[in-house]
């Protein structure tokens, strides 16, 4: 129980649950899932399906943020990927064939790889600040997409390509399947190998990681390439869903949603420790919120306002200072020490362990008894 209440995922999960409950009250059929033509249908399925592109981008963003970076260009990559795929389809000898779709998808992914490599080059080799380095592609990217589509909205008609947007596998929407598979792959790749730990080390202390022999440069480069690839897949999904490439609007502001999802999920923008589970929860919160706005009948133009409200509430609940205040409310006085002797922690101190109230720093779990907001020690001040 204690572990649960301390988990950084607690508040995001509660927020998600509250949102879902609210929807259930407003629309009693919200949780209903039915099978129609062998496919799953229902509001929850829609939430998952619509969350998939943002989730994919947020997964890439999680790794980038863990490396102490940020990638603002993913929205542009979404537009470019859609534009390239659709352009490739319409100029193929047989635009409706499966072969044309495979070529289109591969071309889009190949270009995304190059774009990611470009970002990675600027950040890891030339040492340009990530926010600046990716701003380049963010601003240039839509222009590139417009060049490719010649300023037009290209519509396509290809069943194989369309599957990415509207198809099903075993009754599950294709977007959910693809996003789920990529999520699973990333989770296994980072947590079953040493990649996750090395990435976190680079994000927490790049110089220490370099001196320990970590290939920081290639790790950072790789995460930018992966972020671009993930964005491209999301771009293909988005364009396949509407069977068109819209260079102007596809993926607009999606980079901000992705960053929000990551941060709501508890990964610090300062880099280092990251949580893929948290990112999933964050992406689901954002999508549920959008769905809620539609369900309740609020004009869609106001969605952003509601997003902002929920986000600020989640952040406040996560803020260390607010949590400290609430914790003090709940426990006005620290429990008296057992008379039988000092607890284990204290015993460790007396035998020369790392003492609380240490000379060089105060451990994060030992706030000053009456923190007056001036102690500035530990996690609270840093995060």
């Amino acid at each position: 129980m204690n572990r649960l209440t301390r988990s950084p995922l607690l508040w995001p999960l509660l927020a998600l649950a509250a949102l879902l409950l609210f929807n259930l009250v407003v629309n009693p059929g919200f949780f209903a899932v039915r099978i129609q033509d062998g496919h799953l249908f229902g509001s929850l399925v829609d939430v998952l399906k619509n969350a998939a592109p943002t989730l994919l981008i947020a997964i890439g963003m999680t790794l980038v943020i863990a490396s102490r970076g940020i990638d603002l260009s993913v929205g542009a990559v979404v537009a470019i990927a859609g534009a390239i795929a659709c352009n490739s389809l319409v100029s193929a000898p047989d635009p409706t064939s499966a072969g044309a779709a495979v070529v289109a998808i591969s071309t889009a992914l190949g270009v995304a790889l190059l774009l990611g490599a470009w970002n990675g080059l600027l950040v890891s080799v030339f040492g340009i600040q990530p926010i600046i380095a990716t701003l380049v592609l963010m601003t240039a990217g839509r222009g590139i997409a417009m060049l490719i589509t010649d300023g037009q909205i290209i519509t396509v008609d290809n069943d194989t390509y369309g599957w990415l947007g509207g198809g099903h596998l075993l009754g599950i929407p294709a977007q959910v399947v693809v996003a789920g598979l990529i999520l699973l792959t990333v989770a296994l790749l980072t947590r079953r190998t040493a990649l996750g730990m090395l990435l976190e080390a680079v994000g927490i202390n790049p110089e220490a990681a370099r001196l320990a022999g970590v290939r920081s440069r290639s790790i950072v480069w790789t995460v930018y390439v992966f972020a671009a690839l993930a964005a491209a897949v999301a771009g293909l999904m988005i364009s396949a869903q509407v069977t068109a490439a819209d260079a102007n609007r596809a993926g607009l502001f999606i980079e901000l949603d992705a960053i929000l999802a990551v941060v709501i999920g508890g990964t610090s923008l300062a880099g280092g420790r990251y949580s893929l589970t948290g990112t999933v929860v964050g992406a689901l919160i954002l999508q549920t919120l959008t769905t809620t706005v539609y369900t309740v009948g609020i004009p869609p133009d106001m969605t952003t306002l509601f997003k902002a409200l929920v986000v600020i509430v989640v952040f406040l609940l996560q803020a260390p200072r607010l949590r400290a205040v609430m914790a003090r409310r709940r426990r006005p006085a620290p429990p008296p020490l057992p008379s039988g002797g000092l607890p284990d922690e204290a015993a460790a101190v007396l035998t020369g362990g790392p003492a609380l109230g240490d000379d060089e720093h105060t451990p994060a779990h030992a706030p000053a008894p009456t923190a007056s907001g001036t102690t500035g020690s530990g996690r609270g001040a840093l995060r």
């Binding site: 040493a194 220490a208 204290a346 460790a348 020369g352 060089e360 779990h365 000053a368 009456t370």
Partner: protein, 519 residues
Amino acid sequence: MRTTPAGPADPAAPGAPSRPVVEMSGITIEFPGVKALQDVDLRLFPGEVHALMGENGAGKSTLIKALTGVYSYDSGTVTVGGTERGFSSPAEAQAAGISTVYQEVNLCPNLSVTENIVLGREPRRRGSIDRRASRTRARAVLSRLHLDVDPDSTLGTHPIAVQQLVAIARAVDTDCRVLVLDEPTSSLDAGEVAELFRVVRALRDSGVAILFVSHFLDQVYEISDRMTVLRNGQLVGEHRTADLPRLRLVQEMIGRELATLEDLERAAAHPVPSDAVPRLSGRGIGRTGALAPVDLDVHAGRVVGLAGLLGSGRTELTRLLFGADRATSGELRVDGRPVRLRSPRQAIAHRIAFSSEDRKAEGVVGDLTVRDNLLLALQARRGWLRPIPRRTGDELVAKYMAALDVRPADPDALLRNLSGGNQQKVLLARWLLTEPRLLLLDEPTRGIDIGAKAQIQQLVAQLAADGMSVVFVSAELEEVVRICDQVVVLRDRHKVAELDGATSSVDDVVDLIARGGRS
């Protein structure tokens, strides 16, 4: 383990002024689950330098924070100038004449010296800052401390030592009766320390009570008139410095008969066969602007010390030997074969390991666990595709945590929650796990407590005895001379001499550093 607290020195003893300006008594501070301070007394007399002594975790910082209003205390009293009062914020303490200068300079490097001195209490005229009055005030306080610093210069352009002195000037700019100096000398070299002490003495003679915290025993004995010793959050005793022999002080601090540093057996120097190929051999190794070309041979089983002041090139040399910076001249050979080190990875591939002097910025990965920190270098060498199997990792971690006595013995604790000494042990273990053949240690014992220091020194001797080559850098010459078989003396980015550790004394090294007869 516990010794009876020695009674406070007799206040009527010669040299002790009549009334303390600050008197803390019975101070107890509890953090959840632990007593950080228990019934501690501290008296500060005007015109005295009072050293607060204790190992890491003894409660020195906590006591200072209780005095300066950062922490509030659970019981006890603080009397300032005869009236009982406590402070609930640093600003209140400062208003009462208690100023603090912390280990890291907490000033704004982008502002001018004047602005830093008057920041937050600028003289005003018609609602705006009176720049002329500010400058006059800064000049006054600088000249009071006999500091020759241009008040209009930007603070960041000065060396750390000068910034530290400006921090002191800022602290005494207000009506300051008590000055707290928390590890003010940890990043200063000998000349700068002398300058700092001159200022401290001037302040003392003007009647300010000074509370001085330092890990350097030499400095404490040089500057202090009185000491209070803490251990594990409890008062051990208050003494006049002149009455407390060093050995006794150390015993009080660590609470046991020290396997005294002085008794540390010098590992029998290993004679080097004349025809032996050095494990590492550098000819003319240098880097433009950082280090003039240096020749250096390190043989198997030998400890080579690099001695010199801060900025003498000792750190620069170790970084070149590890590929952390690239050498612009010279040739390196490992086991007789020429190598080029362009990155730490290449050095690691040659089984070279490097522990940086800047533990926090270049060693500790604070938000990772002790386990991950220990395995980091080994894992990096294996590459991310070949994770260290869980069980192998656990065994290695357990083995090295036990061997180096890392506390707490919890591999899942975050490294940043460990004390400085234990962090250093973890960093050393990180490298020992990779089984290096040449270990470069830059200030491995700086800022850590005496117990951990002795352990690390013993470890170095043991590793060399087992055949490892070690390059050992330390600002404490006594330590260098004691541990090293061979001492390379650096001065002003040049190598000036190479001594045999067994036959040289600290005085020889000091002499070379001071005279610097370039050989």
